[in-house]
Every structure is written in structure tokens, then in C-alpha cells.
């Protein structure tokens, strides 16, 4: 079982500068655990208190996981996962 995970520039220091890595898991949560086992520290950048960080977007096959099942989103062989930090800010 192999899932392609696209890594944004800011997290590439964790993946030895690879833009795309392979991971395994039947749910998004399992995929993130597998990523963290391969690239220590990555999960901490994606999750906070067990939930997806507010300013991290994760997409499965181009769908925002917030509109799928969040961390419980089912993942199958051949799916593509994209991680992107939000572009956000403001004067306050």
C-alpha cells in the first residue's frame, strides 16, 4: 500500500528536501503516524492536541479533508495527499 504525500517547502527540512514522499495507512491519521515514523517531528507540525492544526490544509485527491472525514478520512492505495500551509495573516 502506497500513498504519495506532497510536502510543502516549509516542511521539507523534515523530509531531506524531498517534495514528495511515500507513506502507508488506511486513514489520514495512520498516514500521518507513518510519516512521523519515517520523518520524526513532522506530525507535531501538522497536529495540535490530536487535531489538525487550524492553519495547515491537507487534501486527499484535491478534496480538503475538513470536508471529508478530517483525520478519520479513509485512504486507499494510489491516493494522493497534499499538505499546504494556509496563506493567512492580518493586522491584529
Amino acid at each position: 500500500m502506497s500513498i504519495e504525500v506532497r510536502i510543502p517547502t516549509i516542511l521539507r527540512p523534515y523530509t531531506k528536501d524531498q517534495k514528495s514522499v511515500e507513506a502507508a495507512g488506511a486513514t489520514l491519521s495512520a498516514v500521518i503516524s507513518d510519516l512521523d515514523a519515517q520523518y520524526a517531528g513532522l506530525a507535531e507540525r501538522l497536529l495540535e492536541n490530536g487535531a489538525l492544526r487550524r492553519f495547515i490544509n491537507i487534501y486527499v485527491n484535491d478534496e480538503d479533508v475538513r470536508f471529508l472525514g478530517g483525520l478519520d478520512t479513509a485512504i486507499k492505495d494510489g491516493d494522493s495527499v497534499t499538505i499546504l500551509p494556509a496563506v493567512a495573516g492580518g493586522s491584529k
Binding site: 494556509a86 495573516g89 492580518g90 491584529k92
Partner: protein, 138 residues
């Protein structure tokens, strides 16, 4: 470090800031990969529709990254406006800055300095902000 940018793009961003007032406006300027040259202005919708916050819609964000990849471009500049405050990164801007390779441009069209405006550029890397010179070409 410096940002070199054309006057027409600067003018277009300042105009966008005025049009979207009182909300903050936002967008990116794209350029060929590795060029560090901002040539293609792409205004984005502020999904927060707020005078004190901006955020690209997550769907627009993914489409943007796909488009940039397909065209062998990169995000050279990420810009937004501050409509009531100075054009320098706020704590929020620093906390959420997620593109270490980009120039973060802030503009201010606040009334107290009108008709003058501010157009400033910064690098934001690991929470460290460094202002850089902006060189405007005709």
C-alpha cells in the same frame, strides 16, 4: 536581499487595496521558477472578508499551487494590505508565514498618511523578520 518590481504591479496592488477597503486585500505575484522575478500578478479573494485578517480560501490555495506547478512558476511575492495600520508584519503575519522562499509584501493605504501609501517587503523565516529594499522599475 531586495525586491525588484514594476511600477504597474505596485499601482495595481495599491488600487486593489483601495477597492477592497475596509477589508484587507491579498494575492500573489508569480514568476518563473528560480527567477526571483515577480511578473504575473494574481489577486486572491480574502476568504476572511475582514478588515484585520486575510486568508486564502483552501480550495483557491490548492488550485494556485497546482497552477504554479503546471506553469513552472513559483510564488515570488505574497502580499496583503493593512488598511488602518502600518505596512509591517504583525504578530499574526509572522506566526502564519509559511513560505520561507517568498517576499512578504505589505501595503498600507491608511487614511492618516493619504495620499501617500506604503509598500514594503520582508523576509519571514522561522519567525525572524528582515525588511529588504524595494526597487521599483518603470
Amino acid at each position: 536581499m531586495a525586491l525588484t518590481i514594476s511600477q504597474s504591479i505596485v499601482d495595481a496592488i495599491l488600487e486593489q487595496s483601495r477597492v477592497e477597503y475596509p477589508d484587507e486585500c491579498c494575492g500573489v505575484i508569480l514568476g518563473p521558477v528560480g527567477s526571483d522575478s515577480p511578473v504575473r500578478l494574481k489577486p486572491m479573494i480574502n476568504a476572511a472578508h475582514s478588515p484585520t485578517f486575510y486568508e486564502f480560501d483552501p480550495k483557491d490555495l490548492l488550485a494556485l499551487y497546482r497552477e504554479v506547478d503546471d506553469k513552472d512558476e513559483e510564488i515570488v511575492v505574497i502580499y496583503h494590505s493593512h488598511t488602518e495600520t502600518e505596512a509591517r508584519p504583525s504578530r499574526t503575519d509572522i506566526a502564519y508565514a509559511g513560505e520561507p522562499g517568498a517576499h512578504y509584501v505589505l501595503v498600507s493605504t491608511r487614511e492618516e498618511i493619504a495620499p501617500a501609501t506604503e509598500f514594503r517587503s520582508f523576509r519571514i523565516i522561522d519567525g525572524v523578520v528582515t525588511e529588504e529594499e524595494v526597487s521599483i522599475t518603470p
